[in-house]
Homo-oligomer: 685 residues x 2
């Protein structure tokens, strides 16, 4: 068994031999009789010394970050330098920055607000609301990702203010709103929140019960919380800091309901006192994100001027006449929500970035932590030299790289959006938000366990991230609900192609117009690693599942079920299909990036691409269940995954280093954890 | 589609119609124009009213608890009544008890200690160390499970003191130790901890570097921490409260190492000052269990009298002569660790109990929370009436019930142990500790997401449990390491049967002596639900995987790999095998209990048993990968799982109610969460 990677060079071997010597030599057996003779200890060898790199990590980083590398480093340095970011010095003059999770909720909230002020004063948010264009939007994404790496609460509190409150102003509002609010919001003269979700209705926004009734005499909207279930819930910023809010509400005019609309209201005065006709309560302590002051809001005949209706989609004239360019209420509703997609894009992107941080910490630890020996008195083995440990971590690295590509392309599609692309953006952002956040939780859990007990220490970050990012799977649209929308969308593309006897068009389903791919019975290792096979097998699965889904739904309908019921009853294959679709688009994005490179980096990216494709195949039983892959090929895939583990093992460090996470954002176990835990280092105040 | 369960009775239907009416009737559409007219709100209907029970939950509870039902209720009442347990009154005079997770680590630690004093004063621990016999051990387990439901920190701090410190005294110690320490420990006159793990060595206990050298002149052992990696780490109780510890250390006599032994030492005086020659540091803030004061210990020529060696297995005579009844060091080492199995038993059992609590909360919420409607203006549907939501929760309930049976039988096997059973107990406790804790984490994650945002609120408990119990997967033996020991043990049973051309004997592998089961190509629904088929398919998989594993290992050996390397390289099938073994024994235990019942309960248990068996089959691709099941049968299994969801749906509430979790240990979303979130209730101090 190769306990040191195949790539190990002579000097590496000798260096390891020396380590083993120190660990096992005569001095070691005499360990007991020579107390405090440190030469006899397990000694730490930095992986940066023991591992080698065959490609330029900066090139790889440009690919992984995708954009604004310099801006990222700038804000990283800014946070490293700020006393508010709790820098902690450990042995070897290493400094780590991370929030103090031993603070109470109240303290964490104040720290988050103060950090925002600090970043604001240093110009981080300059142009976030007054700026224009795709470049600015990409830069916003990048900076938000970086602050989110420091603390999810920070990114979320900023996200609520800039992307939800600010985004609503920009997209639902018109000039009068922009002139009045955007600049002050960018400067935090006013702090915005976003009151959409209610106690009784979360993902089902259409069902919200808050009501705005137009009073033509005073030309005001009278906003009410008619029921306890209509109380606004989870409103980030509402509990403490927000001065203004967007209120989502049913609009009633002369007894007619016009559906959900958005209004601006002030909820606190400049001194922070809650405004009249508004009641606010706290959502209380949460399992994470305690730096965000989530609150609940009730409205009691709150009057807001007619001008506070965000009227880009529809407007109410002074006499109460309702006017809208979009006649169909469903389309109007969709138009309302479309711009909010940025929230989902943010979430998907942040999820991947966090996985990168956790994997960097975990891999660096696995390259310095030893456990058990293979021969009676032999050296203990590095965790990452165990095939089983490689199998736990390397596929996660590959998936993270692939999802990183997908996240980048999602951002690009979003910032270059046009009305025709709304549907595509909605489906891509839904699918990727769900799959990337679920994968992040899986990755964090595996990393936590792979770090053993050290994964439980807050200072090592990996474990903390689990509760901090858990929210991602259910907010901004419950993942399961989002995935149902994905399969529904695929079904409607299918239906329209069938009904009109046309070609498949949209959501990348064009591959279904080609003849069905045929996979040979016995695939060789090299063909399993070919982009051709990988593309075909993903297409084959998606095609097969879409047919299955359509058939199952129509079968239920022929049995008398309504279309809605038929879809609800076909949830199993619908779920398989939505995942197959998402894995296919992720693969396509990653393969694109892989092709744009050359040299040794291309080789490593090729391995990562193959690992991504083959691990998706191994993990999804539907390939066997529906015979998309022969048993022989399935066995070959499994073997190949193990081979890829061995092939990627020597590049593990180089890949995680290329994620570009600053050392100060990692943790003691990513470096010399023996020194960091030594008595002398443990007693630095 | 049946949106109300098939079992729904006329009056239930009418009750639901009324609810829908309130939600949708004219008053509802007038919701906006009639502010604060509560009749127009979504109204809460208690599932205890809307759902019905066909069996006696008390009978089911006796089965699920297995033993000491009265003792459990007694200690539950005790905690409900104690002000130290933070009772919170919510609307409807409902009281919930739960720790305040918004407290700092330091505060949580003090609260845990004070709660222990309270329980001690009320006689909860009476006889825990001075008592004898299987009944007392079972009662201890039961009470520890109940305090663990309140707070994991409480159970762990007690576990360290009673099961590790106390257990070591009882099992490794002899009369002189019992007389001196047991009574005072039971009364908390002294507080014990257990210093085994070191910074450099966790699961690999054999590798610890602490050294005890015997000094025959003074008849003392001189204990040293020779290296920073030898510092004792994660020692529960060490950071603040413990006065005494068991030290695991290499024993050196006249330059010869005798391997790992255990010694007693005092680490704090009556005033809580750290003793001379001992240094203690804090492990710091963790993602959970912050009520436990984990610490790190260094020893500097600490002298302990010869009598402090725990000498049940081996002893050192005054002249330094080493004597032991067990000559083989490996067996001696095993004998040392065997009694500690109680720790793993505790962990496995607690994991299941916690899943029961989370599922009770989640199912009750799913029976009162509505989302989306299936028809344009139709009523919103209860979460648990969605087939997809049933598919998420009901299999988890079945697994939890099955694992509850397994946990009970594990306890029985443990308390009735004899030396011959050591191997079996070690393997069963390892396998069940790993699988039950992993399943618990899966269950908690699914429950958290199934509760949506409410799952994130600490007051709703489900989310908090994730970080509190995460530690279970790596402490007291890393789950992956434990599962490797399981497959190794199976391999050695296989090897000895092969080599001696004998029958398979041990670990329940006797089924391999029978002819290989043959599964018909096309199984009917009823045969899929038969114990016969389920038994056969579990046996078939285990048999097949064991053959595969043995072959793969010997293949690697024939290629020149050492046995250890061959085993390490065969990790994939080894893992499949260990899981197959564990699922098989869980099934057997559950089937036993199922057979012991009768009447309507037996029917429901039968469905749960079938759900457990079929979901295990659906989730493990190895059935298809290795052809243990035909594609046709696999498809049939999938269909049957969906059917079982429909069949179990009406019994969901009755089953979780029979878990016997007191209402006060549940959370607001398990009851009237609309009232609990109302303005008037939210402002009770």
């Amino acid at each position: 068994m190769h306990l040191s990677p195949p790539s190990s060079t002579a000097d590496k071997v000798s260096r390891r031999a020396a380590v083993i010597g120190r660990h096992l030599g005569p001095s070691a057996s005499a360990c007991g009789s020579a107390p405090l003779d440190l030469s006899s200890c397990i000694s730490y060898v930095s992986p940066d010394v023991s591992e080698k790199t065959v490609f330029d990590p900066r090139e790889m980083r440009r690919l992984m970050d995708g954009h604004d590398v310099e801006a990222r480093d700038w804000v990283f340095r800014l946070m490293e330098g700020g006393a508010l970011f709790c820098p902690r010095r450990r042995c070897g003059n290493q400094i780590f920055v991370a929030p103090d999770y031993n603070q109470t909720m109240e303290q964490q909230r104040e720290m988050t607000m103060r950090r925002i002020q600090f970043l604001s004063e240093h110009g981080v948010f300059h142009g976030w609301l007054t700026g224009q264009g795709a470049e600015m939007e990409m830069r916003k994404f990048a900076l938000n990702e970086c602050v989110g790496l420091y603390d999810h609460s920070l990114a979320i509190k900023l996200g609520v203010h800039f992307f939800l409150w600010g985004g609503a102003l920009q997209f639902f509002g018109t000039k009068r709103h922009h002139d009045k609010w955007l600049k002050d919001s960018e400067d935090f003269v006013i702090k915005g929140c976003f009151a959409m979700t209610e106690l009784g209705h979360g993902s089902n926004v259409r069902g919200i019960e808050t009501v705005a009734t137009y009073d033509s005499r005073s030309q005001e909207f009278i906003i009410n919380t008619p029921c306890e279930t209509a109380q606004k819930y989870w409103i980030g910023g509402a509990a403490k800091h927000a001065t203004h809010t967007i209120i989502f509400s049913q609009l009633h005019i002369n007894g007619n309901s016009q559906g959900v609309h958005a209004f601006i209201a002030q909820i606190r005065d400049e001194n922070g006192n809650v405004m009249p006709n508004v009641r606010i309560a706290d959502c209380g302590h949460k399992i994470g994100l305690n730096g965000v002051d989530n609150g609940r809001i009730w409205f009691d005949n709150l009057r807001v001027p007619r001008e506070n209706l965000l009227n880009s989609v529809a407007d109410v004239l002074s006499d109460g006449q309702y006017v809208s360019a979009i006649k169909d209420p469903d389309q109007r509703f969709a138009a309302f929500l479309a711009p909010l997609t940025s929230g989902r894009v943010n979430i998907a992107v942040n999820a991947v970035y966090v996985s990168k941080m956790a994997l960097t910490i975990t891999v660096r630890y696995a390259l310095t932590r030893r456990a058990f020996s293979v021969t009676p008195n032999g050296p203990e083995v590095l965790l990452l030299d165990y095939p089983s440990h490689q199998r736990r971590l390397l596929p996660l690295i590959a998936k993270t790289c692939a999802m990183s590509s997908a996240a980048y392309h999602l951002k690009m599609i979003y910032v270059k959006r046009n009305p025709d692309a709304n549907k595509l953006i909605h489906i891509y952002s839904s699918a990727l938000k769900a799959m990337l956040t679920w994968q992040n939780l899986k990755t964090l859990q595996e990393c936590r366990e792979a770090c053993g007990g050290q994964g439980l220490k807050s200072e090592n970050r990996v474990g903390v991230l689990k509760s901090e990012f858990d929210v991602q799977s259910t907010f901004e649209g419950d993942n399961n609900v989002l995935m149902q929308q994905v399969s529904k969308a695929l079904l409607s593309v299918y239906a329209s192609a069938q009904s009109k006897k046309q070609q498949f068009k949209g959501l990348g389903l064009e591959h279904m117009n080609d003849s069905c791919p045929v996979i040979p019975e016995n695939m060789s290792s090299s063909s399993l690693r070919s982009t051709k096979f990988q593309t075909e097998i993903f297409n084959l699965r998606e095609r097969g599942l879409l047919h299955r889904y359509a058939n199952e739904v129509s079968q239920y309908q022929s049995q008398g079920e309504s279309k809605e019921s038929a879809i609800i009853l076909s949830y199993q294959v619908a779920d398989e299909l939505a995942r197959a679709f998402t894995e296919r688009i992720i693969f396509q994005f990653f393969a694109e990036d892989d092709m744009s490179t050359s040299g040794p980096l291309k080789d490593v990216l090729g391995m990562l691409r193959s690992m991504y494709a083959l691990i998706c195949i191994e993990e999804d039983a539907s390939f066997l269940r529906y015979g998309y892959l022969s048993l022989k090929n399935a066995a070959a895939v499994r073997k190949e995954v193990t081979k890829l583990c061995t092939d990627l093992r020597p590049h593990a460090l180089a890949v995680v280093n290329s994620f570009g996470i600053p050392d100060s954002f990692l943790s003691p176990i990513a470096f010399n954890w023996i020194d960091a835990n030594s008595w002398s280092c443990s007693n630095i105040p």
